[in-house]
């Protein structure tokens, strides 16, 4: 009877909600704490609920099939799943609805795992009650859900890659090869990033520059890649498919199209300043390229160091010097963005016990790379900074600024074990008589060929591995030799070892400007400060902002093979929307109930994005640019301004349901709780 009455009613006005509720066990993740059968039984008695079931894994195929079958059999028009977080599986279930011919927005998920069973593990009774409440809230909202259409937007077939290290270069090359236009933006005057600074790479001992520079040249030559160096992203606006990006291209004071890279200007320049590329160990001129293989090979005037003497201008044949050149602001239209902004090395001064910055003969791994590099400041001869002599006894201290809660970096930097072993081997190759020590906590040699590389270092090279984190390094002020105090935890003995040179394996930290990038792109960061991926396992290169992807060490410490793989992955992900040509976007935007609008313009003033204008004295929403934050709806005094999928009624229904049981008579004839 009730059923028929309801049906007649549905004909009269809107169709009556017919809700299916599915309570997921998630194996034992939920069912181990929450009495899922009781929750399903409870849900079956709620108003409009036609079917309520519990099932082991709702996200698995049979679980989804259950929903699809019920939609057909019971003519369900709203679905509630009580399971994990909607941030996990909402897309999965929405798809299931779609496949059963139901609008995907007629779905609501109650989070009874992350927000319940996992955080109230010792309170099964309370957790079960909470699960019922959350399900009741979801049902209350579901009743008021409305179908939504996903608007389609065209995707610009161009990508922005931020950062010109090996990650950015790889992403750019892949996308360009696929036929997309790529803007590759780098803040320093040349592509190359940190990899260009390295001497050799583990475990193959390839010369870093030899394998990197061809890629840099490929990028420069590629017809689809536009390299913009000495430039930074200033503003990012828009959304997937339609980003508008402002780039500030700083004045090099050298005309890129005229400079031939001959270097006469630098020879003539009288000013010498420490060279950043050599970690400040060597010098460069005020007009410079960071390193000989720079791409583009265009000189840059360091405005702060330049005296304006005119020597460079005097010797420049092609008349490329232009002191009056101003910064240029470029506006680009791109469909997708890849963030490849890299890392910065941990500042070893933050571990004062090791004396970096105080003792001349304590250097970092990156400084070691420059000192053994043939194009480095010493021509490839490793010399002690204090006296210019070749060291005989070298110690490498691992985990400096990594796996160290004291400096706020509990994570492993993943490359320090291997690059230190590599550096130790490099030195031993040239100086077999040298005494080389590695002070380690654990050796992490996890990659292809890494363990073998480590074993060789131990067995064939005679490098001494001492398990223990040194307590301190002390300098002998006369000899400038260093005394390392360490407890060998394998022997259980305190040791004091005198060394000529100590190399600190400084770890990786988020790039210093990552906060700025985060804000520009509205990214999130994980607890370690690196940019957060959308899902640590299943969406490792996506971000939570559609159309923006991560490549390389900006997402977390990684070595070169992993960086390059991830860069290619990011390119592949970014190519999807561009290849499709159009994407669906979230329909969660503002809309106006015209009959309630009094034209007060409060919404217009509240909106930060210029979305709302007045048309015929009523608010009008430009849905294409509305971001759906809801500020206008919260400010509207009459309830005219609403957000799709988050209307006042839907939210009020949840508040009511959160605080009280339903009073109306619930239950239907065909109600059933599956046993």
């Amino acid at each position: 009877m009730a059923e028929k009455k309801a049906e007649r009613k549905a004909e009269e006005k809107e169709e009556e909600p017919r809700i299916g509720v599915y309570v997921c066990h998630c194996g034992v993740n939920i069912a181990g704490v929450v009495d899922v059968k009781e929750v399903a039984k409870y849900a079956s008695k709620l108003k409009n609920v036609v079917v309520a079931r519990d099932y082991k894994y709702m996200c698995a195929d049979p679980g989804q099939q259950l929903i699809k079958d019920d939609i057909k059999e019971h003519k369900l028009n709203r679905i509630v799943v009580a399971a994990c977080s909607p941030r996990m599986h909402e897309p999965t279930f929405r798809r299931a609805l779609e496949e059963a011919g139901l609008n995907p927005f007629l779905f609501e998920q109650a989070n009874i795992r992350e927000h319940n069973s996992w955080v109230h593990m010792k309170q099964p009774k309370e957790a079960t009650e909470k699960a019922k409440d959350l399900t009741r809230m979801a049902v209350a909202r579901a009743r008021r859900l409305e179908p939504q259409q996903k608007p389609k937007v065209k995707v610009e077939r161009a990508a922005l890659v931020i950062g010109g290290g090996v990650a950015g270069i790889q992403s750019a090359l892949d996308l360009a090869d696929m036929g997309f236009k790529v803007y590759l933006v780098e803040k320093s005057p040349s592509l190359g990033g940190k990899m260009a600074q390295l001497d050799k790479t583990f475990p193959t001992m390839d010369c870093s520059a030899c394998i990197l520079t061809p890629k840099m040249v490929d990028a420069a030559r590629h017809e689809n890649i536009e390299i913009i160096t000495y430039a930074e992203v200033e503003e990012v606006d828009g959304y997937i498919g339609n980003f508008t990006v402002k780039i500030r291209k700083r004045a090099k004071q050298v005309l890129e199209d005229k400079c031939t890279g001959c270097g006469l200007c630098a020879e003539a320049c009288p000013v010498e300043v420490p060279n950043e590329f050599d970690q400040g160990l060597g010098v460069r001129k005020a007009i410079y390229v960071p390193f000989p293989q720079a791409v583009p090979l265009v000189y840059t005037i360091d405005d702060e160091a330049c005296l304006g003497c005119g020597m460079c201008e005097a010797v420049c044949g092609p008349e490329a010097i232009d002191y009056e050149q101003k910064d240029e602001v470029l506006e680009l239209k791109v469909g997708t963005i890849i963030v490849a902004t890299g890392f910065d090395q941990f500042d070893a001064r933050r571990k004062p016990e090791y004396g970096y910055g105080r003792y001349e003969n304590v250097i970092t791994g990156l400084e070691f790379e420059r000192l053994v590099n043939a194009s480095g400041p010493t021509g490839g001869k490793l010399l002690r900074p204090s006296d210019g002599k070749e060291p005989h006894r070298i110690g490498f201290i691992l985990c400096v600024g990594s796996r160290d809660a004291k400096v706020g970096n509990p994570y492993c930097s993943r490359v320090c074990c291997m690059y230190s072993i590599k550096n130790a081997r490099l030195y031993k190759e040239k100086h077999p008589e040298a005494e080389v020590y590695i002070f380690y906590m654990d050796i992490r040699a996890y990659g292809k060929g890494y363990e073998e590389f480590y074993r060789q270092a131990q067995e064939e090279y005679g490098i001494k591995f001492i398990r223990g984190r040194p307590g301190e390094v002390v300098e002998d002020p006369k000899t400038k030799n260093l005394l390392v105090r360490v407890e060998d935890t394998l022997l259980g003995l305190p040791l004091e070892i005198e060394l000529d040179l100590v190399v600190l394996a400084a770890g990786m930290e988020p790039a210093r400007d990552s906060e700025k990038i985060q804000r520009l792109l509205r990214l999130s960061r994980s607890a370690d400060g690196f940019f957060a991926e959308a899902h640590p396992k299943l969406r490792p290169v996506d971000t939570l902002t559609d159309g923006i992807y991560l490549a390389g060490t900006c997402q977390g410490p990684k070595d070169i093979p992993d960086t390059v793989s991830q860069a290619s992955a990011a390119a592949a992900r970014a190519a999807i929307p561009m290849a499709m040509g159009e994407v669906e976007t979230e329909p969660i935007v503002a809309f106006v109930r015209k009959e309630l609008c009094i034209g007060c313009r409060i919404c217009e003033r509240t909106c930060d994005f210029g979305v709302i204008t007045m048309v015929d004295r009523k608010a009008h929403v430009n849905e294409a640019i509305c971001k759906g934050c809801g500020a206008c709806a919260a400010a509207c005094p009459t309830g005219a301004m609403q957000i799709r999928h988050f209307t006042d009624e839907q939210i009020y229904a949840m508040i009511e349901a959160a605080l009280r049981e339903e009073t109306e008579e619930g239950g239907r004839e065909e109600v059933k709780a599956e046993a």
Binding site: E114, N116, M121, R525
Partner: protein
């Protein structure tokens, strides 16, 4: 008599605080089960009337949580929420509700621990305050 267990309604933004709650879950951080979370895309959506409605329906406390200042997915939505909460805190005493019953916290997606601690802290605070005057009448 059993110990007073407050009813808490929490409004959380999708991008930061709700995700922080998810992280508390994946990290298995335990906290008391008193809160019922309502997900909004942004705390900017928080109509002050939602908070009043929650108290009118018998909530003993209302927690609002969003992204840290500067981290808002919508740039400045959290600033708007902050203003509205400030305004509400002035208004609540007029209704006989202690302003402490309304809490605003910034919790990022990476701060599972802060999420759990906020829950513990706020629930303890509301427990100390006792049932909301409105909640008592609501429960009749």
């Amino acid at each position: 008599m059993a110990e007073f267990e407050p009813k808490i309604v929490a409004f959380m933004c999708n991008w930061c605080s709700y995700a922080g709650g998810d992280l508390a879950g994946t990290s298995r951080l335990q906290y008391p089960p008193n809160a019922r979370i309502i997900r909004l895309m942004c705390t900017a959506r928080l109509d002050p009337a939602f908070v009043l409605k929650a108290f009118a329906e018998g909530a003993d406390g209302v927690l609002v949580a969003g992204c840290h200042i500067g981290d808002c997915h919508y740039v400045s939505g959290n600033l708007k929420a902050e203003k509205r909460v400030k305004m509400l805190k002035k208004l609540l005493p007029e209704l006989g509700i202690e302003p402490e019953r309304l809490m605003l916290r910034w919790i990022s997606a990476a701060e599972g621990e802060r999420f759990a601690n906020t829950m513990k802290e706020f629930i303890a605070l509301v427990k100390k305050l006792g049932p909301s005057p409105l909640s008592v009448s609501a429960r009749g």
